[in-house]
Amino acid sequence: MVLAERVSPAPVRSVAEGAPPRRPKNSQGVAYLFLGPWLLGAIGLTVAPMVVSLYLSFTDYDLFNSPQWVGLDNYAKLFGDDPRYLDSVVVTLKYVVWSVPLKLVLALAVALLLNSLRGKGQAFFRSAFYAPSLLGASVGLALAWRAIFDTWVDTPDYALITIVLLSAWQFGAPMVIFLAGLQQIPRDLFDAAAVDGAGWWRRLWSITLPMLSPVLFFNLVLETIHAFQAFTQAFVVSGGRGGPADSTLFYTLYLYERGFTEFRMGYASAMAWVLLVAIALITAVLFRTSRYWVFYGDER
């Protein structure tokens, strides 16, 4: 990271400057050759289906017969004439607003704890806390969760909470990233602060959090995007219905129901595109705000 450069700038620079810009003629070709497999996959499995889905979103398509062009009808219906769609948006927003901060706070707290354990079984606890995330999208885990929170899951007021808890419990990925970020913070900053008499909270607020803010930002963006796309847990926990009484009708779940059980694939495609644009917008807004609270170390 940038910080490493500041601590020992000399060797880094010398390597960069010492190496002459040597570019064999065919280096680009080789690069593309190595990129090839990924590129093929990205075009064939991601870009092409996306283009098709964009087209389908302007059609009435029932999976079996050829799509009929309907223009903006699907989009108009989404916003004007589908109360359940709006319900699913509300449920998803609730989930994002609850689960992302909860997960990040848990991840940060555990990372701080583990960071203070330098050498004393840190590796073991890191793995232990990471384990639930490895099982992340697993169906088995969601089923176990369903069994544990049996009555909660079947009551509208609590069903969403159980899914938020399930997601928060899988804080391993952001935790590991936080931990790596924490270990990058130069110790002399803390030492200097300690000499000045700063307590634990002071150091957390004035050193750790600002120095960690790029990592925090990264985790926030990633987890927000993931949360909008949450599907497996809700699908399994609610038996694929978004119930009880639509209390766990996630956006993706409703999309799936429209596409695969009601055979309205055109409508489902329109939903998918609205979600994509919404996520892009929200990410853009997060990036905008980042200039006010993310500290990249090299700023004065």
């Binding site: 079996f64 079947d154 009551t155 038996g239 219905r241 009880p244 009601e262």
Partner: protein, 422 residues
């Protein structure tokens, strides 16, 4: 080196020959795919029957696979959309129109009575696979709605067991009695208000039906209101399961209030009795629905499953042959037994009835006891019924959990149901 080359050449020749052999498959050889939903039990008998079919038709190979019901139709729709439709497809009554209405099922009309034998069939029952004059499916077996109950709990509470002639008021009274006798721990009846199958049975007892001939809703708002009110009366009278158990009805028997021993009686289909019997062996019985009508129970001879061929199959003859074999071959009938319900072929049904035990016996005896009061199946539900089925559950849930009043839920149900039928 030379020896290697020779061996290599030889191998190539052998492979080429084998390739040639494979290529000649078009000469009378056919490979078809058959899929169904069910569990391991069903897979065992079905695969056994398919093997017998292959041994009798050495030129036909059948690849089989199965899913549970929940995933089955999602898989089927994606396979068909992907141009990879199975040749022979187990079909559900509720989905018949969704698929046939989209022209993905082969019209079997030219084969009925010829390649597909129907001499030992009930003519009315064959009709349950017809849509707009086309035979798009053949019923595989017959089932009917029923009440599964725990006779010990009825007895302990001094409540009479379900029998023809009992009314909905009797049901409520006995359920409340049972619930009181267990100190409220076990409900007298599983809440039925969100289940379209129960509503349909109840409607038929009043001479109405779910769908009119033109495919519109066949009942009025007030009918559904009265039905939801009936379910509410059960709740108010401490005769039925608490709200959080209402949502468990979609899963297998082990997940339902009955399977969890939290209810003394539950609405079901007789063909599902096997599942209950696995969870609670030899504890439960089947009885008729309560009815306020002397003439009818509202239940009817429903095709528990149907069987169709894909309209795009390249091996029509082989597919039709397999369908006929599964429906009409006495040996296949013996292997399949009553696994899918009462066999559609009456001769096979009789043969199977001679040799019954366990769950199959209970199912056969139940159907025999109510047969005189069963009606013929109505026309298959229209496209959109799958959506309405779930809609009814959802709106009823909202009522049960106190999120909406019956009238609010009713208005929303009506709006969305009409939308689904468009």
């Amino acid at each position: 080196m030379k020896a290697h080359k020779v061996v290599g050449l030889l191998l190539c020749t052998v492979l080429a020959a084998a390739g040639c052999g494979g290529g000649s498959a078009s000469n009378g050889q056919a490979e078809i795919r058959f899929i169904w939903w069910g569990n391991d039990d069903r897979a065992k008998v079905t695969n056994e029957a398919v093997k017998l079919f292959e041994s009798r038709n050495s030129n036909i190979k059948v690849a089989t696979s199965f899913q549970n019901f929940q995933n089955y139709f999602e898989k089927l729709s994606t396979e068909i959309a992907g141009g990879n439709a199975p040749d022979v497809i187990q079909m559900d009554y509720r989905y018949l129109n969704e698929y046939a209405g989209r022209n993905v099922l082969l019209d079997l009309t030219p084969y009925v009575g010829k390649e597909i034998r129907t001499t030992d069939w009930n003519a009315g029952f064959i009709g349950s696979g017809k849509l707009n004059g086309k035979q798009v499916a053949m019923p595989l077996a017959q089932n009917a709605t029923a009440i599964v109950y725990d006779p010990k709990l009825f007895e302990a509470a001094g409540a009479e067991a379900p029998a023809i002639g009992w009314s909905w008021a009797d049901y409520k009274e006995r359920s409340a009695k049972i619930q009181a006798s267990t100190g409220g721990k076990i409900a007298g009846a599983t809440d039925f208000g969100g289940t379209e199958d129960v509503f349909e049975t109840w409607l038929r007892q009043r001479g109405k039906k779910l769908y009119a001939d033109d495919g519109e809703l066949g009942y009025a708002k007030d009918d559904l209101k009265a039905f939801w009110q009936l379910s509410k009366d059960f709740r108010d009278g401490n005769a039925t399961t608490p709200p959080e158990l209402v949502t468990t009805l979609n899963a297998g028997a082990e997940q339902t209030p009955m399977g969890k021993k939290l209810s003394a009686s539950e609405h079901t289909y007789d063909s599902l009795y096997g599942g209950y019997n696995t969870v609670r062996p030899n504890e439960l019985k089947l009885g008729p629905y309560p009815s306020d009508s002397k003439e009818t129970l509202g239940s009817y001879r429903k095709p528990s499953q149907l069987i169709s061929a894909s309209a795009r199959t390249k091996n029509k003859d082989a597919a039709v042959k397999l369908i006929d074999f599964l429906l009409n071959d006495p040996d296949a009938g013996k292997i399949l037994g009553a696994n899918r319900g009462l066999p559609a072929n009456l001769k096979i049904r009789e043969a199977v009835a001679q040799n019954l035990s366990g769950a199959n016996k209970v199912i056969f005896e139940y159907q025999k006891s109510v047969d005189a009061k069963l009606g013929d199946a109505p026309a298959a539900p229209p496209k959109g019924d799958g959506t309405i089925y779930k809609l009814m559950q959802r709106k009823h849930e909202e009522v049960v959990f106190g999120k909406k009043t019956i009238d609010q839920a009713l208005d929303e149900f009506w709006r969305d149901a009409e939308e689904a039928l468009k």
